[in-house]
Every structure is written in C-alpha cells, then in structure tokens.
C-alpha cells in the first residue's frame, strides 16, 4: 500500500512512528483506546456519533477490551460511566448539545460526588431553533457544573487531552470529572495529521486505574456515596470542591511537563500565549478559531500592528491569574466567542475575561465579538476585522462593547 500523500516519501503510518490522517472524533477514540478504560457508555448524537462508532470498531477488532453499554439516553450514559468509576474503574462517555443538557442532573451528581470520569463534548449549538451545527453554546450551558473543562484547538490536541484528562481527573489532589471539548465538524469531522503515541509511552504517563488510590464503592469498606447534607457540611463540601478545582488549575503546568517528558509534545499550560508578550493588544478565544487568529496575528504583525493571542485551553477552572498576566500592559482586549449569554448579550468567555480585567490598572477596553454560531465560518477577514477593531479601541476609538461578526 502506498503511503498517504501527507507523509514523507517512504514513510509508513504506524502507531507512535508517523502521523496518520485522523479527524477529531477518531483522534479522541484513539485517545480513549490508549487510556485502557473499563467501560464505555454512550448514546449517539451528532456530531459525537463517529467517535462512538470508532470505539465500537476497536471493540469489534479486539483492540478495545472495555465493556460497552448501549444505553437508552444520555443521562444513563453518564450515570453508567460514573457507576463504574465509583466502583473503582475507568470509564468514558461522550455527548453533544441536547444530549449534554439531557444529562444535566447526572452531570451535577458526577462533580458533586467527585467522580473522576472523563467525557468528551463534541460542541454543538443548542436547540431551539433546531440545528446540529457547530457552536460552543452546549459547553456554556454546563460551565457552572463543577467539572474541569479542557477546550482543544486541533485533532492532535484532542487525542492528547484525553490522556491529560484522565491523569488530571484521577489525581488524588483533584478527584473531579473532566470534559474534553472540541467543536463539532471544525474538529470532530476535520482530518489532520495526528501522531498516535505508543501504548508503552501512554502507560508511563497514565498509570493503570488499579494503581490509583481513591474511595471505592464496595463491601470491603462500606461507604455512602451522595449522602444527604444540610448547612455547614454542605458549605464544606462546596469549599473543598472549589479547592480541588484550584489544585486542578495549578497542576496543569506540571502535567503538561510530564506529558512532554513521556510523549514529546509541549502544551502551554492553561492558556497558550501566541506572540502575546510584546503585543500592544490581545485577542482571546478558545477552540478551533485560535488557528485562524494565529494567522491573523502573523498578518497584522507584518503590517507593523503588534497583535497577540491568548488561547484558553482550560476553561474551568478559569485560568484568571494567567489571563491577568497576559493582559497586563496591553491597551485593549478582544474576546471571540462562539456562544452568547442571554440577558447580558455578550459572549461567555468575554464575561470571564472582562471580570478578570477589572484587576488591571489602568482599565482597558474589552470587546466582545460573537461569531461562528451554527457552523458559520469564523473567516480570516472577520477575525482580522475583530483584531483591527480591538487595536483601534486601544488607541482611543469609541464603539459598541459587543459586535456580532458578519451580522453587523
């Protein structure tokens, strides 16, 4: 068989040796396979479905030993996954959009009970109006749900983030569920060269679940999970949950270091800074649009406009300290959101960034750009326009705080 065109002449695709062409869903499936889960429970929903199909293919081919449960709905998908996890196993599930909101009560149960389960969100708009197109609105519906949330820019990062997610979730200092989020179609169905690491390398980075120490449901040490709590004890649970979130945030840099040592690829911690240090103004976004914004930044730099980018990789816990550090000394910040907060009519990430920016002295303009809803392209010209607007705001030009890209 001839080597695919993207590979160097003479190279053959093989695990851990050369990149292969994988879309985001397949990359996620390889990530799951490498983490050796004990159970996979999921319910099909666009655009997450091909991820499931790939996992079932692995199972049929004998590569995946996990049990699979074809549940009757998303709430049961997450519930079965967290059942395995409280009983000491490693579980995986994935969903999108209305499937995510349908499992919302189990979603809150998972975080409040501190169940270290990992779930992919192949991000999609919320109904209504009915659509299956890309957006980040589904993630925004659960951003207050107490999970750690990682947002990916590329198919390679999807695979790698699955490994990081289990490492983070199961850490005794964290014990929290983790979402790995990527945009539907732009990443779920987009094929890119992806290096699939060797199993031995992954095993060095992520210990088998039997070697993890955590409270386990069983008759050896009877315990109650999900106990009834009132008053101060409830507050204590919340306080400890928040502390675990903070530890998760503080740990990502170190885990990135472990990941680089074991698997060779560096990630920039909770926020990836791109030409940000000497920038006059900063664009902030998360997800696939960051790739386009990097191109925009490069182009503006060629014109002599000192643009920079901060890509939020960890959305929850919010990397406020890192964002504040990157914004310090800038003249303006523009935030590109693929979602909108009804009521304040701004992007969700904008709201977070604006809140963080209150600690800056002097205050600087922060602009909300809403675009890319329902799978519309966040084109280079739209994002270049957003960057120029932000640059102008930094130089004193007045204007609206929220701008709908391509709509006004």
């Amino acid at each position: 068989m001839a080597a695919p065109a993207y590979l160097p002449q003479g190279a053959q695709p093989a695990d851990g040796l050369a990149p292969r062409l994988l879309d985001g869903n397949k990359a996620a499936a390889y990530g799951v396979l490498l983490c050796r889960p004990d159970l996979i429970a999921a319910y099909p929903i666009t655009p997450q479905t091909p991820l499931l199909e790939q996992l079932y293919k692995f199972k049929a081919d004998g590569r995946l030993t996990a049990e699979t449960v074809e549940v009757e709905g998303e709430n049961s998908a997450l519930s079965a996954a967290l059942g395995v996890t409280v009983a000491g196993g490693r579980a995986f599930t994935a969903t999108s959009s209305m499937g995510l909101t349908f499992m919302y009560d189990a979603y809150l149960f998972a975080s409040g009970t501190r169940v270290p389960v990992v779930m992919v969100i192949a991000m999609r708009e919320q109904t209504a109006p009915t659509t299956v197109s890309c957006g980040q609105q589904d993630l925004m519906m659960v951003k207050e749900g107490g999970w750690v949330q990682l947002v990916c820019e590329s198919c390679q990062e999807i695979l790698d983030s699955i490994l990081v997610a289990y490492r983070l979730a199961e850490d005794p200092q964290v014990q929290l569920p983790v979402n790995v989020c990527y945009e539907g179609y732009y990443l779920s169905h987009l094929s890119e060269p992806v290096t699939v690491p060797a199993q031995e390398a992954v095993d060095r980075f992520l210990l088998p679940v039997r070697d993890k120490r955590r409270p386990v449901l069983g008759t050896e040490h009877p315990m109650t999970f999900g106990t009834y709590v009132v008053g101060e004890l409830y507050a204590e649970y919340r306080y400890k949950h928040c502390q675990a979130m903070e530890r998760a945030g503080g740990m990502l840099d170190a885990i990135d270091g472990e990941f680089r040592a074991a698997l060779g690829r560096p990630y920039g911690g909770a926020v990836e800074a791109y030409r940000a240090e000497d920038a006059e103004f900063l664009m902030v976004t998360m997800g696939s649009a960051a790739g386009t914004l990097k191109v925009v930044v490069d182009e503006l730099r060629k014109e002599g406009i000192a643009a920079g980018l901060a890509r939020v990789r960890m959305f929850r816990p919010l990397p406020a300290r890192e964002l504040l550090g990157l914004m310090r000394g800038k003249r303006a910040v523009g935030v590109v959101d693929r979602s909108v907060s009804f009521g304040w009519n701004r992007g969700h990430l904008f709201i977070d960034v604006k809140a963080v920016a209150q600690d800056l002295e002097p205050r600087i303009p922060v602009v909300s750009f809403i675009g890319g809803l329902a799978g519309t392209d966040l084109r280079r010209d739209l994002l270049a326009g957003a960057a120029r607007t932000t640059w102008e705001r930094g130089r004193g030009r007045a204007g609206a705080e929220v701008i709908w890209l391509g709509l006004e």
Partner: protein, 445 residues
C-alpha cells in the same frame, strides 16, 4: 455476624388467649389422649367471665429452667423447653417461677411435667374446633429473615411506615453482600446517610430520581469485571420508578442488567406531601388530585409497572406484600438467584399518612388489598407467570376502601368501577398464568 435478635428460631403454638367458647375441653381431651396427663388447662370461669386455654408458651429465656435446682429443665436444639422427670425432685420451684401457668404438677407422683409440643405436632391445636389454638410454622419464616438489620435504628420515617419495614425486611433476606441504591423519597432516609453519618452498614449510593438503574448498571458491570458476587439492589419509590425514572429502568431491563430493583409503591409522592403518581389508584384523593365539585380524586387507572417490566424481558418480576412475609422473602430469594437479567420486585407499601388511615393499619391494608384482588400477588420468571396467592373468593372492594380516608368521597358507582378494575387486573394475571404458566413452585428458603 450472628443471627438476628432472637437466637431461638422455632415454630409456635399460637393461643388466642381468652377466646375459647365456654365449657369446651377438646384440647384437654386431645392432650390426655396423647400424653395421658394433660399439659394444657382449660380455664373455665363463667363468673369472670373467662374461658381460655393455658399451657407452656415456650419462652425464649425460660424462667422455669433457671429456677430448677437439678437441671431437669432444658431447651432442646429446636427451642422446645423439655422437663426430664427422671431428674425432677418435685420441689415446685419451676411452677412458682413461671408466670404463665405453663408448668403442670403431678401431685400423686410428686413430679412436675409440661408441654413438649408433641414434638412439633401438637394434638391440642389439631383438635381445637375454633382456631383459638393454632400451630404456626414460624421457624421457616424466621429463617427467611435471619440476616441482621443493617440499617440505623433511628430513622426519620413516620412510625409504622411500611416502606421502612419493607426495607429492613428485604435486607434481612438479602444480607450483607450487597450494595444498596436509593433515590429521593421517604425510604432513602435509611440508606443515604445524614451529614457525615452513615445510616446503613451496607455500601450505599444515593442516586437521582432519574438514574438509579443506570448507576447500578455501571457498578454491577464493574463488580462482575473484578469477580465479585456482590449484588446491586435498589429500594426506590414509585415516583422514581413509574414516572421520571422509568426510562433508565426500562433500558436496564431491556439490556438485561443483572440488578435487583425493589420498588416500594406507596402510590404517590409522599415525601413531598402526597401528590399523585402514575401508580396512584383511581379515585384516590391526593394533593394534586383533590376532591371538590369539579374533581373527585385521580381520574386515571394506575400504571401497572410490574406487568410492564415482565413484558420488558426482565428475568424475574414479582409483586409482594408485607402482609405475606414468607411470600415476600421467597420472591426476594428468587430475585437474587436470577443472575441473567434484571429482577424486579414491586412491594405494596400503603402510606397511612397519605392514604388517610390509622398509624397501625398498614399491614391490614396490605392484606385487604390482596384479599379484594386490588393487588394480586404473582411472579413471572422469564415471561412465565404464576399467581402465588390465589384469591378464589374475593372480598368486596368496599372492605378495602373503607379502611382509607382517601376513598371516603367515592359513591357506589365509583366503588363498582374500582372493583371492576381490580377484577380486570386479577384476571389479566390469571389469563397470563394460564396461557404461559410458571409450572413448578420454587423451593421455599
């Protein structure tokens, strides 16, 4: 772990004390015939008036044994207190120690003697024409419930709650190699813990209304992966079973998850203050089906969840009532034995608060529901049906409804309709049992 609170597990001579007809001496005659000297005394006191039978009550801790200076009195391995006349010196200390008149004395021989239950086949009970004396084979029943109570003694349920009773009874059969799953509702107070205190010695999961069977799916799969025999058992109310949580139960049954699901059916949302659920009986008054000029209680017939489960491919389905504890225990055993799919036990659980009846009435209500065919007792094993307690001549439905204030507003026409619903329900099960019979009666534990 030792057996439960009572170390002596034995059959019982039940005496309806003081309920004999005057001048009846059938028991005494039968005893004399069997043992020459009667061990039972007919107390005939017309002036009192009192007519009763007196004999040894077979105390668990017999005072006569403790009083005997020669060791002539001892309990045998079956819990029967026996007197060895060869060692008796005729001192009478045993007769003085017994408060119940259970020791007899042969003045001619100067020896005490007493009832030995005719070695488990008492002639007196067989001869009793009125049913005042009955031989109750309680040992088998007590052996069914021999596991210790694994739940806290102080629980925040109403005194006399049948859900609490059923919960405790169920796990005295199921035992310690189990994980209990609860969901919001009254009975979860026994399982979900309170603050940093556990309410059960069993491992427990407090599930949502919407995901008990799904969490159980994950846990049960994991237990099987690591080679554990531990059973996952739910004790969850009808709201989370028939209404908001029906989907995951349906899914788990269809997938054949090896879990045991006990639904305690108090026919409504009693923990939130008595609102109707899908299983509420037609006509019943609840806070969301009140009685007024325009509404007379619930207008719909109850959803028959056990039948739905039987038509779902469940490995085992049964209805149960605490008025028939031997039947309940046998069904739990059978549910535990069915490893090849979901086992579903639907426990009838009258809520005296919500059903408007006295605190001590729930067992009688449970019994009447069976006797009037309102709640048939049946089981289905892999789609084969059997009525476990046939009711040949049902009592009129009014014998059931008059126990409950929630039906007080019903007139004769509505009662007739309720009776017809009960008949239909019973005949459906009868027809299924005839068409697809579960042939052999399973062995009692």
């Amino acid at each position: 772990m030792t057996a439960g609170i009572n170390p002596v597990v034995r059959d019982t001579l039940a005496i309806a004390f003081g309920a004999c007809p005057p001048a009846c001496r059938e028991c005494v005659k039968a005893c004399e015939h069997q043992r020459s000297l009667a061990r039972i005394v007919a107390l005939d006191l017309p002036e009192a008036p009192f007519h009763g039978a007196v004999t040894c009550l077979q105390c668990s801790e017999p005072a006569c044994r403790d009083a005997c200076p020669t060791g002539a009195i001892a309990q045998d391995e079956k819990g029967v207190t026996r007197l060895d006349s060869g060692r008796c010196v005729g001192c009478g200390a045993c007769a003085i120690a017994c408060e119940w008149g259970g020791i007899n004395f042969d003045f001619a021989a100067a020896r005490a003697f007493k009832c030995d239950t005719c070695d488990g086949r008492p002639a007196c009970a067989a001869a009793c024409p009125t049913g005042v004396l009955r031989w109750v084979e309680s040992a088998a029943l007590m052996r069914q419930y021999r596991e210790p109570d694994l739940f806290t003694r102080g629980a925040s349920l109403c005194p006399g709650c049948v859900a609490e009773l059923g919960f405790r009874m169920a796990f005295r059969v199921i035992g310690e190699d189990a994980i209990v799953f609860a969901a919001p509702g009254c009975a979860c107070a026994l399982a979900n813990g309170f603050g940093d205190k556990a309410t059960t010695r069993l491992p427990a999961v407090m599930c949502l209304m919407t995901n008990g069977p799904s969490i159980m799916t994950g846990v049960a799969r994991r237990l099987r992966q690591i080679g554990k025999q531990t059973r996952c058992v739910a004790f969850i109310g009808d709201g989370a079973t028939a209404d908001v949580g029906f989907q995951p139960l349906s899914g788990a049954a269809e997938r054949g998850e090896p879990i045991v699901y006990i639904c305690y059916d108090n026919e409504g949302y009693m923990n939130t203050g008595v609102q109707r659920s899908a299983t509420t009986t037609a006509g019943a008054r609840t806070m969301t089906t009140p009685v007024g000029p325009h509404l007379k209680g619930k207008t719909q017939a109850p959803k028959e969840v056990p039948l739905l489960m039987a038509f779902h491919g469940a490995a085992y389905v049964a209805t149960a009532s605490i008025a028939y504890p031997e039947d309940f225990a046998a069904k739990l055993k059978r549910a535990l034995a069915s490893n090849d799919g979901l086992a579903y036990v639907h426990l009838y659980a009258p809520c005296y608060v919500g059903w408007e009846s006295p605190m001590d009435s729930v067992v009688e209500i449970s019994r009447r529901a069976v006797e009037t065919r309102m709640f048939p007792l049946w089981e289905a094993d892999h789609g084969r049906f059997r009525i476990t307690h046939p009711i040949a001549r049902p009592r009129p439905v009014g014998d059931f409804t008059r126990l409950l204030g929630r039906f007080r507003h019903l007139g004769p026409a509505e009662l007739d309709a309720l009776g017809r619903q009960a008949e239909d329900r019973y005949r459906r099960i009868e027809a299924l049992s005839a068409a697809m019979p579960l042939a052999e009666e399973h062995p009692r534990q």
